[in-house]
Each structure stands twice: as C-alpha cells, then as structure tokens.
Amino acid sequence: MFSRLTTWLLGNTLCRENAPVKAHVRYKDVFSIAGIIGMVTLLGLLIHYLGFSDVSVITLYILAVQIIAVRVSGRISNAVVSLLCVAIYNFFFTDPKYTLLAYDPDYPMTFVIMFIVSFLAGSLADRLKRMAGQSERNRYRTQILYDTSQLLNKALVSQEAAEVLGVQLHKLLDRDTVVACIDEEGKIACRYYPDTCRSTFEGQADQDALVWSVRSRAKSGAGTSVYPGARCSYAPLYQGSHTYGAVGVLPGDAGLDEFSESIMSAIISQCELAMENIRSVKDKEEAAMKAQNEKLRADLLRSISHDLRTPLTSISGNASMLMNSEQTFDEATRRQLYTDIYDDSIWLVNLVENLLAISRVQNGTMQLRTTTEVLDDVIDEALRHIDRHVQEHTLTVRKSPDIILAKMDVHLIVQVIINIVNNAVKYTPAGSEIIVSTSQKQNMAYITIQDNGGGIPEEERPHLFEMFYNGSKEVADARKSMGLGLALCKSIVEAHGGSIFEKNVVPHGAAFVFTLPTEELPDGEQKV
C-alpha cells in the first residue's frame, strides 16, 4: 500500500514537472534546511532535558521535514532531509548518545517508520504546495484571458488589437513572441515582444514560415510539417475571407504544454474576432463618411457652378465691350468697366482661396501643416489681402503689447481673418469702423474683429456658421455670397483646438471672436 501511494505521489510529481528543474544545489536552501533542523534539534534537546518522552521529538522532526518540503521542493531533497532527520535523531537522542549506534533492538524499526512517515509527510506538503502554485497559475491565466478580452474590446484599430495580442501572449507564455500585421498596402509589419527579441525571428526559415502562414492561412514552423527547421511556430490570424497577419512564438527546448497551447489559441481567436469587428465598424464608418462627403461635394459643385457664372459673365461681358467699342465710351465709363473686371476677378480669387482651404477639409479632419507663428505677423499678412473696399472704411489694429505665439496652419488662419474682415467690409456701410484686436487669456489667444455697422439680425444668428447659409441681407453690390466663409472659419478654428463666436456690440455693430491655444514663449535671451 505504501509503495502504491509512493508511486502515485512520485508519478504525479513527475507529470507536473513542465519545465526542467534545475538540479544544482542552492546555498539558500542548504542554509534554511540547516537552520530548521538546528532549531528542531535544540527544541528536542530541551524537551529531552525536561524529561519528556522522545515520541514528541520524533513528531517535531516530522514537522521539520514538512516545513522544509514547503520551502524546498523536490523528491530527492525530501528523501535526503528525511534521512538526515533520522540520523540526527539517532545521534542526539538514542543511547549511546552522540554516536550513530543504537542499543535498543526496537530502534531500527523506529528509524524505518520515522523515515517513511517523514518522507510521506514531506511529499504531501510538497504536493499541496505545488497544487497551490498550480491553481495560482490557473488563476493567472484566467486573469490574462479576461484582461485580453477587456483590452481587445477597447482596441479601436487592428494595430491596437495586434499590440494587445503580442503583450498578452508574451505575458502568458513568457516566450519570445512576434505579431505580424498586414498593413493597408499589403506589406507585413512585425512587432516583437519583448522588443529586444528581434533576432529570434530573423532566420531565413523563420521568415519564410511566417510569410507562408500569412499567405496560406495555416500553421507552420517548428513542430509542424511546413518549415519544421524554423526555430519558432507560427499561426495565422484570419477571420472569414480576410487575413490579418500571423503570430509566432518561440516554443523553447521543452515545447509548449497543452494548457498553454489551448489558452494561446483562445487568445488568438479572441483577437481575430476583435480585428474582424474593428474592420466591419471601420467599413461602415467609411461608407457613411463617403456618403456625407459625396453630398457635400454635390452641394458645393451646384453652388459653385451657379455662383461662378455671375462674375464670369460680368468679366467676359465687360472685356468684350472694351474690345469691340472702347472708343465709344468716355474715360469714366471705361474706368468703371476696368474696375468691374478687376473686382470680379478678385472676388473669384477669394473664392478659389476658400475652395482650396475647403479641399483640405477631408474626412472631417483637416490636414494641418502647423508652424509656430507670432500672431501679429499673421494679422499683418492677412490684412494685406483684404478687399479693396476696405479703403472706404476705417481699419484699426490694436495689438496686444505681449508677443503671442500660437501653433497654426498659417494659410488657413490667414484665410479665417480675411473672411471675417471681408465680411465686415461687405456688410457694413461705407465709413464704418473696423477694429482688429488681439489679447491673451490663460493659454488662449483671442482675436476680435469688431465693427460698428448694423449688427447681425437676431433670427440669423443661430445659422451664421452653417454651410451655404448666406443670410437675407442685401449686400451693397447686390452679389450674394456663397455662404462658405464663416462655415469654413468655424471648421478651421475648431481643427486648431480653438472656438469661434460672435456677439453684438453696444450701441450697434457685430464682433467676431476666435481663439487659438497659445504656445509657451521659449526661454531665451529676450528676458535678459
């Protein structure tokens, strides 16, 4: 019965050994064994001195073997410690004392029983400890699986999902891992976990196996029939008709146990599903975006083709009049015709500038080419390009005394200022005052364009920044605007992380204010 129990215990111990146990003796273990046995022996000598029975001493030694078994794993060390305890007991507590001899004929039997009991007790303690370790590992793996699914849920692009896969697999298996993703151009991009293990996967066989796995959507590499010469094993990542990439793991000398493999494939399929979800969400968003862009483009085209006709008719008409019968007009009329041609072409230039800016509003996000600029310079630049009719108004610039720096796409911001100032010029009677001022409040630059014209009618205010809204007001030159300017200003300013709003001014007039996040002034000489 004992032998069966022992085999069972030993057999189980062997089966549980996944990783090869390092055979060398560790000094730390030797010290703890010596310490525990020493303490027990001292305690035993005390009990013996006080005249109690030796049976309790034997029990103490069995306890010592158990404690040691918990601290130092291994069948051999357990047997050695059990034998050592028997020997020490013999040495200190049996007559003749301080020898390894025993007079009493009962002692050999006592020693044998003591050895067997302490060995079994030790084995049981060891096994309990291992089981605790095992369940700790199981808990850890479940945790990783749970974490993985949480992280995958949060991933918004498939690169993020791939990153999660790599990090989690590496955490779980503690092996060198590679995750290869197919990017938009169909190229394979690899990320390594840990970052330093690149060389593991650089062999020709490994690279071929990785590519083969991606192309043929099957496992390859070490432990399979395809590229068995590779150091690592590779598994494809795919779902439905779409292949996302592949995963490679270095199995190491001992290979992967069944449990790790099953968890690994669970993580991989989780990741595949996540990538599939991400892709279908993206497809849907793209389709919606496309539809919206199409609509915007159609509106724009309709509006442009309609509005371009007016100035073009005027330009070509005036020019043809001048060509055919220049002599019949008096000087003043001719001058007026030239002016009209010039004004209309400038109107077209401004329109084209706005359209250029709009063409950069792609996919709802602007592609900003930002540089750090001094606000005053930008305002000076913008004011150089405003409507000729500004001469009929009084334009004042009130700059902040401090240098204000802001990161911006300078052409777009110039366009914003031009649009607002041109509006002020267009919608206020000649002789009105226009004030452009700058100020800075808590990391925000404020640019205010204020006029003392008639202000904005209450019913138009909510629609000011809508695209293709052009109000009801009759403009001095009777040309309606396209209703692009302010809508464009709003999207430009918002893309810069600022905001735009308007307010009516007392006693009369309108003010447009937009903000831009400012930059810190760089440390430098100017403070000296």
Partner: protein
Amino acid sequence: MANRKCNILVIEDDPQIRKLMATSLTAEGYGVETAYNGTHGLQALRLGHVDICLLDLGLPDMDGVSIISKVRSFSNLPIIVVSARSEDSDKIGALDAGADDYLTKPFSVEELMARIRVAQRRIAAQIQSGGGNEGNAVFHNGDLTIDYVSGCVYLSGKELQLTPIEYKLLCLLARNEGRVLTHTYITDHIWGNSLDSDVASLRVFMASLRKKIEKDTSHPRYIQTHVGIGYRMMKQ
C-alpha cells in the same frame, strides 16, 4: 545700371501669364526675354546678358529647384520664383537652393514691379560694394548702421542694445540684404541646427529685434516677414 536697360528673363510655360509679364515689364521700360521651358531658359541665362530672372516653378521639362542650382553654379543674378499657393514647400526648397524672392499666383502687376525693384537695388548694392556686402566693415541701410568691427548697431546715430542672438540675426539678414531667407536657413546659421523649437525662438527674437529697430512694427521698414516662409532685410 542707369546707362543701360535692365534685362529680365521670364521663364514661364503658360502663354497668358508670360504675355502678361512681358507686356507689363516692357511697359515699365525693361528689356524682356521669354523662355517657355527650363532648357531654353538655361540657354538664355548662359549667354550672360540677363540681369534678373523670373522663374515659374511648375515647368514641364525641369524641376525649379534643379534649375536654380544649375544657375547658381555659374551666376549670382537675382532669381524671383513664381509659384501657385499650393506649392509652399516647393517655394521654400527654391529659396533654400538660392532663389532671392518669390511671388505667389495670382499676383498683381504692382507687386511684380515692386519685387523687380528690390532685385535691382540688390544688384546696385552689389556693384557699389564691389561684389557682395561681406567685404565691408560697415553696413548702411537707411537710418540703420552696423559696424561689424566693433559689433555695434546704430539707428539714426544712436547705439542700440542688442543681445548676441539679435545681433547675429541682424548681421545675417544684412549680409543677405534683399534676399528672402527661409526659417530653416536662418536657424541653421544662428544655432547650427533647425529644430522646431528653434523656429519658435526665432519668432520671438525677431519680434524683439523688430521692436528695437522698427518705428512701427505693423509696417516694418527694414525686416519683412514672409509668413510661413521666412524673413528679408529690405534695402531702403
């Protein structure tokens, strides 16, 4: 300069713009030659009787930057680049390759004439100082005087207190009077490298330098800002 006509070469592939430039330049009394592509333009330039070159960046046969590098290998004549708004980076590339100035389409005729006059002043200054400002110990521009030997700057005879970097900036602009210097060019020469943060510093130094030498910073006399491109010292 005064005793002969200033010859201007227009390299432009668009016939309408070429005609517009030629007509307006002739009307102003300049001698005009035209070329419709880079190869012809270079041939005309090699003959050596051109004083100023107007170069369109979007030519069919050659890249504008390579034309400029080729011209710079044999001539120091002022080159004014003409480009569309969308080619900002090309413009910077052209300036870094050695162009003096740029015009953005659509431009007005007055603007074109103003640029030509700036280039003419540059040529005049060069002839006066016998080939470049580099050899001079003292730089004069309007009320502004830089004494390179003592490292002092005077405005209307009054000495200005400049920090070392402001002084370096001013000297760099003065030595390249009439040329538009790109931000990268300036940061390369002042700091020896061009990080983004240096461009921000450059703005601040330039603003403080301006406060010291300009009477009205909204209408600067000496240092022009070219937003998104760089700066230029104007000849008074």
